[in-house]
Amino acid sequence: MNILEIQDLTKKFDDFIAVDDMSLAIAEGEIFGFLGSNGAGKSTTINMITGLLRKNKGSIMILGKETSKDSEFVKRHIGLIPQEIAIYEDLTAYENVKFFAGLYGLRGGELHDRTVEALEFVGLTEKQKSYPKTFSGGMKRRLNIACAIAHQPKLIIMDEPTVGIDPQSRKYILQSVHKLNEMGCTIIYTSHYMEEVEEICSRIAIIDHGKIIAEGTKEQLKSLITDSKLIFIEVKSQEAIDVDTIYKIQGVTDVKVDENTVQIHTELGVNNLNQIIDYFIRNQLEIRSLDEKEPNLETVFLTLTGRNLRDS
């Protein structure tokens, strides 16, 4: 079942078209990535899903209900982790989470339990009595997450949750995304960090100028551009190489020998590196170095839009 369905969504700010006739469906249980440069329309889309902005055209259905009609039902099942840290500096970590969870109708003992659970989830149990003033950037980010998950939403929307934090906290956050997903949450993750999206997302939409220009698993996206990767193997001597044998290895489409380097084109998604290396070893060809060139999302983005993700 699709947890989110967007049809012909459009948002204009005066004459600037921020989201342009966008259609999209996200199934339950996915970690769906929105990939795009700043100003591509990711945040605008998210703001319309969560009800922060009104749409000009189109429809947004969450759990089968139109957001603008059943907004209370829909909002109850969404957790938004905003791009900027949105917490109260003069309330303690515990009070922050409790206040926001309380807005979702939780009361009394249940409210307390959920608050404690959420703080435990982000690893701030020991700090629950402290004020966020004393927190590091990463801890604030984690509290920012806790405030959005205490009411156990079905759909969690994370808008650039890893901007400007240390690698350790980033790792922690990426792990919690996985954990939340395993607990049954569907996650929409926006970022302009390619590696993150590539690492955690099960499906990705590349957004540019308010449009989804490509969508699919990362393999599908990569295959838009090319269906092969290159393996460079440098050997001591090329004399004993039998190109025809290498051709017979599954997935290999082209083999070129250039001085001491063997260039092997092989199909993407076929794991044949072992067999290739095995061939060299069996024939007692001494491998000096091995290099693999595989297209990544960065190349996909660059090729499709002509710009680097971090340019703008």
Binding site: D15, F16, I17, D208, H209, K211, I213, A214, S223, L224, I225, T226, D227, T303, L304, T305, G306, R307, S312
Partner: protein, 374 residues
């Protein structure tokens, strides 16, 4: 329209406030209270849209002005005419009636403000009525304008569709023509050669017996074959499309032409296997490039170079037209861009328009699955 009524009220209140302060009326606080109440009622009035509520508020406001007149200050009666005019207007009575009703209370008004009352009644009546009159006119005109805009859009769309249809038909004609010619080859030349073959066969048999007859037959066959060859040559010459008419060459030719005509350096580069692009896709590429180049000319005066790049990727064709001008922070979607989008969408493609670093139009077209390996 409402704005005028509100403005009128504010002017009245301002006038009354000033007069009250200068007159140093005794019940100033009551007067202020009443004025505030009046303000509140009238704000509610303009916020609500239900006829009943509006009427109620107006009646309340009228009572308030009369009560104010009797108990606090004579001036309050000045608020009455506007409410009367508004109320009667809400119930769509004739304007003359509202004028009379607004002016009638003058006979009950205290002597000293009678003149002011008449002035205010006439003034409010006229500003309100004139305001309404012009407002209605404006609304009507706007409706007409909207209707015309919609009409224009419709016509524009029709023109576009017709254009597309014409081009489509031209292409169909070409195909038909080609069909006809191949039929001709089959029918005419084929028959001629078969005829020549039969005559030569006969000549071979007759060679021994009737040499003269054989010679004649051979001569016949030679004639037919010569005719046939000539006919083949002719047909082929007509049939084969000029090299300029297809694919990348046509694009090249167009860009050369463009460069010559507009004196702007324009470069075409292409990568990948051009054979994977279908005719339909070429047609769209050609049209989009034309449109994008025209756009570039129009908006990028500062540019010195336009680069056109066609790149065939694994499952996508990417066509970029990019200039090195100033670009545009804001991109307005004109008919040209919408046209490109619609055209491209027919083949499930996408258009990206970017004005950050020069102006660029990127067309992405998927390569049909049945052509590649699926």
């Amino acid at each position: 329209m409402e704005r005028w009524a509100i403005l009128n009220k504010l002017i009245l209140i301002f006038f009354m406030g000033l007069t009250l302060i200068y007159q140093e009326t005794i019940g100033l606080s009551w007067a202020v209270l009443l004025l505030l109440l009046y303000l509140c009622i009238n704000i509610c009035l303009h916020l609500s849209s239900r006829q009943v509520l509006v009427t109620l508020f107006l009646l309340f406001s009228m009572t308030l002005s009369i009560m104010g007149n009797v108990h606090v200050s004579a001036l309050f009666i000045l608020l009455l005419p506007l409410s009367v005019v508004e109320l009667l207007d809400k119930w769509k009575t004739r304007t003359i009636l509202s004028f009379i009703l607004a002016i009638v209370p003058v006979f009950y008004v205290q002597q000293e403000i009678r003149a002011i009352y008449v002035l205010i009644a006439i003034y409010t009546f006229f500003t309100y009525t004139m305001g309404k009159f012009f407002h209605e006119k404006l609304v009507k005109k706007e409706e007409q304008l909207d209707a015309m805009r919609i009409m224009q859009q419709k016509l524009m769309k029709q023109i576009n569709e017709n254009d597309a249809y014409m081009k489509q038909s031209a292409y169909m004609f070409k195909l038909e023509e080609r069909n006809r010619i191949s039929q001709e080859i089959h029918d005419d030349i084929g028959h001629a050669i078969t005829g020549a073959l039969i005559q030569m066969e006969a000549a071979k048999r007759l060679m021994r017996g009737d040499q003269e007859k054989a010679e004649q037959l051979l001569q016949n066959a030679i004639g037919i074959t010569q005719d046939g060859i000539e006919s083949i040559r002719l047909t082929l010459k007509n049939l084969k499309p000029s090299i300029e008419q297809v694919g990348i060459n046509r694009l090249k030719l167009y860009i050369d032409e463009f460069q010559a005509r507009h004196d702007k350096r324009t470069m075409l580069t292409y990568r990948g296997n051009m054979d994977r692009i279908t005719h339909m896709q070429w047609k769209i590429i050609q049209e989009n490039v034309t449109e994008a180049l025209t756009n570039s000319l129009k908006y990028a005066e500062a540019s010195t170079l336009i680069a056109v790049d066609v790149n065939v990727l694994n499952k996508l064709i990417r066509i970029v037209v990019k200039d090195n001008g100033k670009g545009a922070a804001k991109i307005e979607k004109g008919l040209g861009i919408i046209g490109m989008e619609e055209r491209t969408a027919t083949l499930d493609g996408k258009i990206i328009i970017d004005g950050n670093d020069g102006f660029s139009v990127t067309t992405l077209l998927p390569i049909q699955q049945d052509e590649g390996k699926s």
